[in-house]
Amino acid sequence: MKRRHTFLVSMLGFGFAFFYIPILSMIVYSFNESRLASVWGGFSTKWYVSLFSNKQVIDALILSLEIALVSASIATILGTMAGIALARFTKFRGRLLFSGLVTAPLIMPEVITGISSLMFFILMAQWIGWPAQRGFTTVTLAHITFSMVFVTTIVQARMLQSDRSIEEAAMDLGSRPWEVLRDVTLPVISPAVMSGWLLAFTISLDDVVITSFTTGPGSTTLPLLIWSKVKLGVTPDINALATLMVGIVAIGVVIAGIFMNRAEHRRQRDEQMAFRANG
């Protein structure tokens, strides 16, 4: 028993180490004075300074953030609608097909999604002359289609948990379906929608594969920039750039975590108080 326990803990330790040591070493080496990625030459923030004076990097960062914001927002709207529909309308023609179509991109290799998006844009350009050029719009559209799936999954799971009868109660009290959606359904599932947005945002922010298929000249996102720079060798400024991205994503996740944790705590505390006061 005891030995098995030690075994499991050490396996867990190895797992975490395997995952986090590279990230930690990347962060540490981003503060390396030396030009050589493998030699420690003292602490310095000069790579960050040079990063922020590099127009290419700033442009890529802004483009990435723009794409992530727009695609996450649209994906959240569409994904939420699909999630609600899948959870609430259990019987409609072609529901199985719809649910399959919605979740397929979840298990589809990204390369396939990337190629098919590219094919789609090329064919569209031939038939209706749009998009004439690939760039912001095409990347955003591609991101929407595959990050929407994650939002749908999260929202659907939340909807299946929530009590159907509160929606019926609103309907019973005189609200039409769209009023029920606005007054009851959306407020209740809003934490799930928020975390769906956050997930879509981070997915879009660090995507390389689909972006590289659907982007065009002049539209380089931050991950693509890192990717192209790495081909010339790992330099400390790339470490700094990657550390920045880890930072952005980590801050987002932590904020979301604190936000949800606090809401949950407050709810539990209030419930206990209510029972103590009236028990």
Partner: protein, 367 residues
Amino acid sequence: MAAAGEPFLRIENISKFFGPFQAVKDVSLNVAKGEIFSLLGGSGCGKTTLLRMLAGFEEPTSGKIFLDGRDMTGVAPWDRPVHMMFQSYALFPHMSVEKNIGYGLKHEKMSAQKKASRVREMLELVQLVPYATRKPHQISGGQRQRVALARALARQPKLLLLDEPLAALDKKLRERTQFELMSIQQRTGVTFIVVTHDQEEAMTLSDRIAVMDKGEVKQIGSPGEVYEFPNSKFVADFIGSITSFPATILERQTGQLRLSVPALGGEVMARDVPGLSEGQEATLAIRPEKLLISKDRPEGANAFQGTVKDLAYFGKDSLYRVILPSGVLVQAHAVNATRGGEAARVADWDDRVWISFAPSSAIVLAE
């Protein structure tokens, strides 16, 4: 609006199928204005389904519902003057108590001031004024139940449907809330349809009860009628406890029946029930509290001798289990009217006793 003689709510041959499964079978019933009407039955007998058809969440497969003379077929839930109090209360978790109560008023054309005073009135009615700004998860179960009631009453529905309104409360709170419900109903005059599987609750609350079994309405009547004059073995068994024996009808006299009941070891006189014929097999059923127990042979018919096998002292009454020569056990309650504790009881273990009942107390069922 309603034609003269037209009942307030008329349910006409309603059936509901879920696929091949029939949840509600050809139910017809009428409810008068201002009545508390109970739907009583075991789990899965279709009570909630019937209620949901009244609220408009399910369409009947066949049959019609008329409310105040108006055909409800195809009328959406939000257009029905019917409100429902859900079994789970279904309070809006993100709204305060007063917002919950005021939610339905959004759809009323009245001034904000009037709405606020209406909410206030409702809070007072259910005694929740100090809790107005709390969220549902910040109040107790009993208080939630009252919020649900106030919310359903706020728009002054013509008909209020309550699905097991008291099921989530503990026994003490349930008894108190029963009386609260009744007084609220009297003050508002709204017609109530209450679903319950608790026969005591149905008896206390209702003006009339419909006893349901497997989607069918077995009997409709006042609590006294369904208790004293059940029309079937199911109803007799479901409401209160009862002892029943197979019997054969020997003779029909004027207003009286003579039956042979082998289990009791003799003949029984009972009140006549229409629709029975001589020689027919039937069931004789007696409520335990209608069985009298005595040391000496009582006057009149329907007396049988037996031995006390078991007895239990409950304080306000005692329960005797008497074994008859035929080997059948019968139960009899005796009220402990005098204050003598165990010493004052009618009989003791292994005593020879007489059990008897009045002909009018015997229930004869044609099953």
